[in-house]
């Protein structure tokens, strides 16, 4: 449960730094080992449900597979074309296969890092912490949080527009093509009502004294303590070890 208690902003910055580190790696061993490390940390310190994790993780496998085969098929010409490995009776340059594996594993590792954050963070707390630790202007932070609250209203609005069209007899879509055309008809009324709601919300917030002043008080305070720095440290140990092992293996 340790990951849930970390400061959201610092946790996010840590994740971003390691994603940028990964972008500099073009061999498969570092991302493979760091991927294992990331997943391990997620389950050891995050108390994340296996089923939910796999459900979110699986789409990235499709993307990683796409990355794998295109990186082989459309690879840069290899420096040593003589070194080749055989996969399913195809002879492929070793170099290209390794780079393709590296890129596919990078996709999976970035996904694992992102899921670590998403599954252990209350995103509303993340926005509030961004305002307190990362100097996000309150006017933007509260506009984002207000916007988030529009979501259920927008769902209701869509139903209302749908019914209104039905009453007037213009909404008997059956084929997928007709349904697409329906969405075209929904777009403008939906956006128009969202804008009206936003205007009213802004006026309501300002009339109740919201000025967007930076020197405001917060009901939920977020701070960065010594404990928060353990997480970047753990991740750095994992990354450094992975990097060192891959160098030892000659990559």
């Amino acid at each position: 449960m340790f990951l849930q208690q970390l400061n959201p902003s610092l946790k996010a910055l840590t994740i971003m730094v390691f994603i940028i580190f990964l972008a500099t790696i073009f061999e498969p061993i570092t991302p493979l080992l760091f991927l294992i490390w990331t997943v391990l940390i997620t389950f050891l310190f995050g108390k994340v449900s296996w089923k939910k994790y796999l459900l979110y993780f699986s789409p990235f496998f499709i993307f990683a597979l796409g990355m794998l085969w295109t990186s082989i098929a459309f690879a840069d010409p290899p420096i040593n074309p003589d070194e080749a490995i055989n996969i399913l009776s195809w002879s492929l340059p070793t170099e290209n296969v390794l780079t393709a594996l590296a890129l596919a594993l990078r996709v999976l590792n970035v996904a694992a890092l992102s899921l670590l954050f998403v599954f252990t963070t209350n995103i509303v707390h993340f926005i509030l912490s961004m305002m307190q630790q990362l100097k996000l202007p309150p006017r933007i932070a509260y506009a984002v949080l207000a916007g988030y609250r529009f979501l259920p209203m927008i769902r209701d609005e869509l139903k209302i527009i749908h019914d209104a069209h039905l009453i007037r007899g213009v909404n008997q879509a059956k084929t997928p093509k007709e349904k697409m055309q329906n969405y075209k008809r929904y777009a403008i009324p939906l956006l128009a009502s969202a804008i009206r709601k936003a205007e009213r919300t802004a006026i309501a917030m300002e009339s109740k004294g919201f000025t967007g002043d930076k020197n405001r008080s917060f009901y939920r305070q977020f701070t960065i303590g010594k404990l928060d720095f353990i997480f970047p440290l753990i991740m750095l140990i994992g990354f450094a070890t992975a990097f060192f092992v891959s160098k030892q293996l000659g990559f």
Binding site: P59, I62, G66, A102, A111, I123, A146, A202
Partner: protein, 192 residues
């Protein structure tokens, strides 16, 4: 930030929510296309992810609208439960910068069709540079990468630029934008 009315910021957030849902809906579409064709699959529909920049900039017509709206949209996408996580905010900012740079080049005065299309392409350029670095396109053959870039530019110009313009004008004609720059312009045009 001082020249912004709070109303305008919340309206950007409302647009961001509607398109946040659209953006999320297109992620698996891109994923399937990418599974079939490799990373170029995303490029065909990439323009959809720039559309908020174009709409907000065209409606509000203030410096920073393209950048702020795309950043807000990214934050809302993270709130809506996107598995891409905090890095999405960075990519949103980078997309916003591309469109903003084009509007800045006209000193935020020209919002003609060509400028809107160029702004969509501006987002395509910055997002491509970012993707080139983050996804390691450097390891791919030059021809394939060039094809990805051209497809993304077209997608930015057509989906973000043209569709964004059409949606904004459709909205203006309903009258909800009467207190925004685009609504005022349309009213003047109709009066004349």
């Amino acid at each position: 930030m001082k020249s912004w009315r709070f109303k305008e910021i919340v309206v950007m957030a409302a647009l961001a929510v509607v398109f946040g849902v659209v953006y999320l809906a297109f992620l698996p579409v891109g994923g399937v296309l990418a599974g079939l064709m490799g990373p170029i699959g995303y490029d065909f529909i990439f323009g959809i992810w720039f559309i908020v920049s174009i709409i907000a900039a065209y409606i509000i017509q203030k410096p920073g609208a393209a950048f702020l709206s795309e950043t807000i949209a990214a934050m809302i996408e993270v709130l809506l439960g996107n598995a891409v996580g905090p890095m999405l905010i960075v990519s949103g900012m980078i997309q916003g910068i591309g469109a903003e740079a084009v509007f800045a080049a006209t000193r935020w005065r020209n919002y003609s069709t060509w400028v809107l299309m160029a702004a969509g392409m501006g987002s395509a350029v910055t997002s491509f540079i970012y993707g080139y670095f983050m996804s390691g396109f450097a390891a791919l053959a030059t021809g394939y990468v060039a094809a990805m870039f051209v497809v993304r530019l077209l997608s930015g110009a057509l989906i973000a630029g043209l569709l964004g313009k059409a949606l904004s004008e459709g909205l203006a004609s309903t009258g909800v934008l009467s207190s925004f720059a685009l609504g005022k312009q349309q009213r003047k045009k109709n009066a004349a």
